[in-house]
């Protein structure tokens, strides 16, 4: 596969922004219909209350919190991976970073919705915010749910800034290339008067480096804190010291898979084959197989410790997963997260292979989140209280809808901003000595 086929790099990378083809409208329309279905389900739930969900004693967290954990995990696709690649100076990152960073922002926005939906009275969500209110109520800072509030908002704000900073020069490019006064005006506003002086480039690069260093521990903390929502409770198979790193590893794992899928769709739909090349899928495939092994290691350590301890309460949950009613899901998870991706990616990391492996991983990791939450809740310590759980159509719609919402958000983003950082890509070419001419029309040579 040849890289960036000659011609005008600016034109190729800005084309999705400056021209809108019918596939874009069809995609947004279909996703919009699904999303409207989810809105309808949400309205139905608001009217009738949370009783329309399948949750009942003792399973009070189910699909909703599964979705929360899953989407927060997916958010690790972007900022964290992008920051690590920047800090380590991985040059192949250049066409990948913005695709990834956008995933983070949208996944976080979606993930953060679920605790609010779960409140039952979402219009009272502001009670989570620490402010001196007249009721004398304060958030309980000892609660991991309050930690979530701080962690997710810090990560969301940091990720938006981390996405925005490298976008500024491209916004200036769009300002100068766009037609239409209104459009130019919006880009001019967003580009903050960027002129491309040496000073501005120097400060931008410094700020991005600083942000990359700060954002890595924040990203790690976010999913660690999400894991503590569970680990701080003295529940069977939740009260575990490895839950923090286990969740972080799982988040990066599912995040890379989501990134591969997003890149595969983008390169096909927007004809960016010369930019998102097999080498990127190969490298991300290597990361994916590494994370698959790490995930298996953590899972094995967790389950072996439980089995070896042989405590009745823990074993009830353990057996329900491995041989009981949740066994089909459990073994699907093992297949999706380990048995399918590892053999595929160990030998072949083509685009097709990495996409197949990524689909398996995303499905497997969604099931993993479900299996962490529901079997433990349905098997409390006192066995008289054991129960089962099955979702209603409302929960299913509220699970499918956010995927459609994600597609809409991503499609709109691609429509408004270049999904590949133009300046970073061109700088990468020049640093490799492939493109001595700075100009946009400089042809990138073939590999």
């Amino acid at each position: 596969m040849e890289r960036a086929q000659g011609g005008d790099i600016d034109t190729q990378l800005l084309e999705p922004v400056l021209k809108t083809g019918w596939p874009w409208f069809v995609t947004v329309f279909i996703a919009g219909l699904v999303f409207l279905g989810a809105i309808g389900a949400f309205g139905y739930q608001l009217y009738w209350g949370l009783g329309v969900w399948g949750i009942k004693r003792p399973v009070f967290w189910a699909f909703d919190i599964t979705n929360f954990v899953f989407w927060i995990g997916i958010s690790h696709a972007g900022t964290l991976i992008s920051a690590i690649l920047r800090v380590t100076g991985a040059e192949w990152r250049r066409p990948v970073t913005r695709c990834a960073e956008a995933i983070t922002v949208f996944a976080l926005m979606i993930g953060a919705l679920f605790p609010i939906i779960h409140l039952g009275k979402p219009w009272l969500f502001y009670w989570l915010i620490p402010y001196p209110n007249v009721r004398g109520l304060w958030p309980n800072f000892r609660s991991p749910l309050a930690w979530d509030f701080f962690a997710i908002n810090t990560y969301l704000l940091g990720s938006i800034i981390y996405l925005y900073l490298p976008l500024i020069p491209d916004l200036a490019l769009l300002r100068d290339k766009s037609r239409g006064k209104r459009r130019r005006g919006v880009y001019a506003l967003l580009s903050l008067g960027w002129r491309g002086t040496e000073l501005q480039w120097d400060r931008l690069e410094r700020a991005v480096r600083v942000m990359a260093v700060i954002i890595i521990p924040v990203a790690v903390s976010v999913h660690t804190i999400v894991s503590w929502d569970f680990a701080m409770a003295i529940r069977p198979m939740w009260h575990s010291t490895i839950f923090g790193p286990y969740f972080v590893a799982g988040a990066i794992f599912s995040g890379i898979a989501a990134l591969i899928l997003a890149m595969a769709v983008i390169r096909r739909v927007f004809h960016l084959e010369g930019y998102l090349r097999p080498v990127h899928f190969n490298n991300l495939g290597l990361l994916l197989v590494t994370m698959s092994l790490i995930w298996f290691y953590f899972t094995f350590a967790e389950y072996l410790t439980t089995w070896y301890g042989n405590q009745p309460e823990e074993m009830a949950v353990f057996l329900s997963k491995v041989t009981g009613s949740y066994a089909p899901l459990f073994w699907t998870m093992v297949a999706g997260c380990f048995l399918i991706p590892v053999p595929i990616l160990a030998f072949k990391r083509s685009i097709k292979a990495t996409v197949i492996a990524s689909v398996a991983v995303v499905v497997g990791m969604y099931i993993e989140r479900f299996l962490i939450i529901v079997p433990t809740l349905s098997h409390p310590r006192l066995s008289y209280n054991w129960s089962t759980y099955s979702p209603t159509w409302v929960e299913v719609m509220l699970t499918i809808g956010p995927f459609a919402y994600f597609v809409i958000l991503y499609a709109v983003f691609v429509k408004l901003f270049p999904i590949i950082a133009v300046w970073e890509y061109k700088e990468g070419l020049r640093l490799e000595g492939r493109n001595l001419e700075i100009g946009s029309s400089a042809a990138a040579t073939a590999d």
Partner: protein, 150 residues
């Protein structure tokens, strides 16, 4: 090489490659123009080396990041300890402001402070958010490099 006609006060020379830009900067330096008075604009970062290397003022972005972290941490301590003490919870002798959970919030707000201060400082140092009057935006959009004496 062609000179801009719109703004004769500042000599803006449009160039195609980094090498040409380097030669132009070196030529200006040979003519006795201080490096601080030479401005190079481009659509992607160019890192000149040797005599042509830019001499920017020292950046304080890192330091502001650290300062922001300290401010964020202090704000978190104030928020958590003050609000915890304000509610007269019965804790059975346990500390009302427990350091471990509050430490989590302090960590997050430290990062938040560092991020915000760094970005604000970057915007200030890069002189962003100011009204621009640039005649060379079309040239930059086409990928030219503009070297001018300011």
């Amino acid at each position: 090489m062609s000179k801009t006609e719109k703004n004769p006060e500042s000599i803006g020379t449009r160039l195609k490659t980094a090498e040409e830009a380097t030669r132009a900067v070196e030529e200006l330096l040979r003519q006795g123009v201080p490096r601080d008075c030479i401005e190079v604009q481009s659509s992607e970062p160019i890192h000149f080396s040797g005599a042509a290397a830019a001499s920017h003022k020292k950046s304080w972005i890192w330091l502001f990041g650290i300062a922001g972290g300290i401010v964020g941490a202090l704000a978190a301590v104030l928020l958590t300890v003050w609000t915890s003490r304000r509610v007269n919870l019965v804790t059975g002798g346990m500390p009302i402001a427990s350091p471990w959970p509050l430490g989590v919030i302090v960590f997050e707000m430290t990062a938040l402070g560092a991020i915000l201060f760094s970005v604000v400082r970057m915007i200030f140092e890069a002189r962003l958010g100011r009204r621009r009057s640039d005649d060379d935006e079309a040239a930059l959009a086409e990928g030219d490099i503009v070297v001018r004496r300011v």
